[in-house]
Symmetry: C2
Subunit: 335 residues, 2 copies
Amino acid sequence: MKKDILRKKITKIFNNHKLSKKHAEVCADYLIKAELVEAKSHGILRLKMYCDRLKKKLINPRPKIKIKKISSSISHINADNSIGFVSADIAINQAIKNAQKTGIGLVAVKKSGHYGLSSFYAEQAVKKNLMVFCFTNAPPALAPYGSKKSLFGTNPICFGVPTGKVPFILDSSTSIINRGKIRQAHKFGKKIPFGVALNRSGKITTNAKEALLGTQLPIAGFKGSGLAWMVDILSGVLTGSSHGGKTKDPFDDFTGPQNVGHLFITINPKIFVGKNFMNEIKRNISLVKRLPKAKGFDSILYPGERKNKAYKKNLNKNIFIPSKVLKEMDELDVI
Amino acid sequence: MKKDILRKKITKIFNNHKLSKKHAEVCADYLIKAELVEAKSHGILRLKMYCDRLKKKLINPRPKIKIKKISSSISHINADNSIGFVSADIAINQAIKNAQKTGIGLVAVKKSGHYGLSSFYAEQAVKKNLMVFCFTNAPPALAPYGSKKSLFGTNPICFGVPTGKVPFILDSSTSIINRGKIRQAHKFGKKIPFGVALNRSGKITTNAKEALLGTQLPIAGFKGSGLAWMVDILSGVLTGSSHGGKTKDPFDDFTGPQNVGHLFITINPKIFVGKNFMNEIKRNISLVKRLPKAKGFDSILYPGERKNKAYKKNLNKNIFIPSKVLKEMDELDVI
């Protein structure tokens, strides 16, 4: 489907579900961007989920988002159960302003929802020449080290920094693979890789449904479990949102709003070394890229390069929508 | 050896190597603390290394440490090639003050050296009821994903938060095991675990010396490599210190000062939700601890609990010093 047609279609669907035109466009753009960077697990296949939640009033289509200014650096946003894209978009812009003014910005969001890829927000800060951390929590998917039951989300650690070229954007879930990939495999009847998830009896499974009912494995055992816990504290406990496994699954749990939390930290990277920062980050990347390559590699990529390459490649192409998702879209369009 | 005697002995040795009494005591306390928390790889066995560098004037025994105030939240410290313990101790105290004043502190340190365990500094902020990140870079030990040559250090991610009880302190190197453990195995002729390091030909090795000459493996491949890179940018590029593999190995490289960088971010955890923070962090931990346990576990520990338990257990015991290290100490004492 042509990008512009898809954009209009998604905007109209969100509009039908009572989102304002502006908010519907923000959401459409983020969903399309996920398709363009080939993070399809965070793309159009989530549209129905968002609409289901809007219909059930678990996402507030007309939120009164309040920004509380705590200092020139620090803001607290009550998202009023808005769709995650909209509140995170407002929040990163606030975090950008705060860092531009004072060198450092800290913006917490409560009562929000799933916001797509953290890298979307990191990229905006990086394009304004800022360094940035984005944290968000998510519904139970990972068992804490020592437990057999899921509690942490796949809680990503996202960090971005300007490089003068393609932004350096690390966006790493603390699970071995992200949950969206398992959902995608489930939706299309595919298997998942070996060793990334356990079934309910605690055995390794390659069946996507069993994995969704069971638990995913954190990266590096106790370390990954600790990192997921850190993200839960930063985005849940600190911001005043749900945490400790209480964040609702947007696909399966319709008992209330998700109450996801986000935290953004923005830093002016020139604050300590001035203009020299750009020279040094370029040198840093060049030192790494010039290293001798391991077998099977002809270049060393930094985080963000692969998604950027995909984005450029796909920007002027049609977006492939699987027939199952097309059918969902048609059904959503006539409501 | 009795703790007090050991403390006097180390203080005297550092004093002999021209450190001021105050700085010698700071260093002695941190080295002993590493022994007490059973991080022996960061304890007394490093004493000779520090003294070797002091003798060669690669560590400045009488540094003129300058603190540049950028704003009430942000400070930049030039450590003047001091021993890492001393500058990091000053820096975390500055970061604590900044966060107490404004809600957030950001303190960068340049021209520093190896500072022991990040958790030492995190703990100080947590004891003042702050949330904290500590980052530091380190000499080449990890090959970036796609390369066969070490460049990143084992670059830890350290995060601390008050809990009302034992501090939550995650201190996770981005390598599968920390380099100190490999050095310790090398010093005492032990093997290292399978699958944590490669030899110079790129093959897995359990020989500590081969591993030191080869490269360690990051946690979770591309993700761990990205996290190590992030820490290099935060502590090296941002602060104006060495980075991109230029941080000198304190044990092997006597061609100049290490020029390690550190970055501390401190946050008042009550800034968004007030006193409720303490209730919620307690609830968070209790929700995790109450989960059904995996096979082989009778409790779920949060990061920091194990070290705290070790500390309490060892606090009133003698500290065991291997004869090899005792001999080194005696030699250092007569200089």
